[in-house]
Symmetry: C2
Amino acid sequence: MDRTASRPRKADAIFSATLALLAERGYDALTVEAVAARAGVHKTTIYRTWATKDEVLADALVQAPELAFAIPDTGSLRGDLLELAKQIHRLLSDPANRRVITAVVSALPDRPATAEAAGRFFADRLGREQAVFDRALDRGELAGDADSEMIMDLLGGNLWFHTLIRAKSADDAYLERLVDTVLTGVS
Amino acid sequence: MDRTASRPRKADAIFSATLALLAERGYDALTVEAVAARAGVHKTTIYRTWATKDEVLADALVQAPELAFAIPDTGSLRGDLLELAKQIHRLLSDPANRRVITAVVSALPDRPATAEAAGRFFADRLGREQAVFDRALDRGELAGDADSEMIMDLLGGNLWFHTLIRAKSADDAYLERLVDTVLTGVS
């Protein structure tokens, strides 16, 4: 749903409050009332645009300045994927972002609205990242049947495991090896 | 810590009860008392072997029959990786397992003992999966500097994103494309 036309004043404050509360207290304690108090708006201001906390959360994930990212255009697929990997790694390295991510993940199995919010977040990113793959195709750097979603899930998924679950850091050398492995394979 | 020597009677029941409670109620509601009641043992039986719920959880993740998996030996790296991908996908497709996974992930940022339990689980798996990569090296199917952990985090990470976060199913054709991408790359 496109809510841009009705974007309320103080939307950024509402989004930042949503993510901060999620990071501090977890999904179950996130309420529209708490978001309103933290953002310094009346809760009716929120309810005029969003019917539920999951709708606020969905827009917060896509639009909050904390999770913003830039689409690289370095002139090569390798350079662009390395930039994307660095951005994902930076995002995953921020303790507040880690809490937002794990809070959203923990709500996924039983809350379809949250799953939809997470799905919108990743679909929005992939839609913008597609420019990287379109340019690589034009330059002949990518097989014609390459699957941009599979590639981003290889990069992002590896970094989730490596940093979130194995709790390891990823220096530039690791990120370069990761990108080169995705580009040329292991065999 | 090797607790095999002091493995209590009814260990499998204790592990299954731990995972079932985690799936049903989440990490915060998981207690040694609740595990004991569910498994039909006195809580002192548990405390004789494990000092905390995170220690029970760590052993449950590694040893519970629900999360058991077999190391494939199909004769080729491609065949073995495809089997591993199918096993990961089956594990992620089970609703109870999904709740266990997301409950553990949600506890990661702030609870070092849980992070250690998850780390032990994945280190144990990787240790056993190493046989697949050793055989592939012997057969000349794998570059000498290949990183088995990176490869497993590509496969597992992709399937986490694809199934848990994008909520998509992965049929055999998807799993074959995934393995072929990891083997030969996208460029």
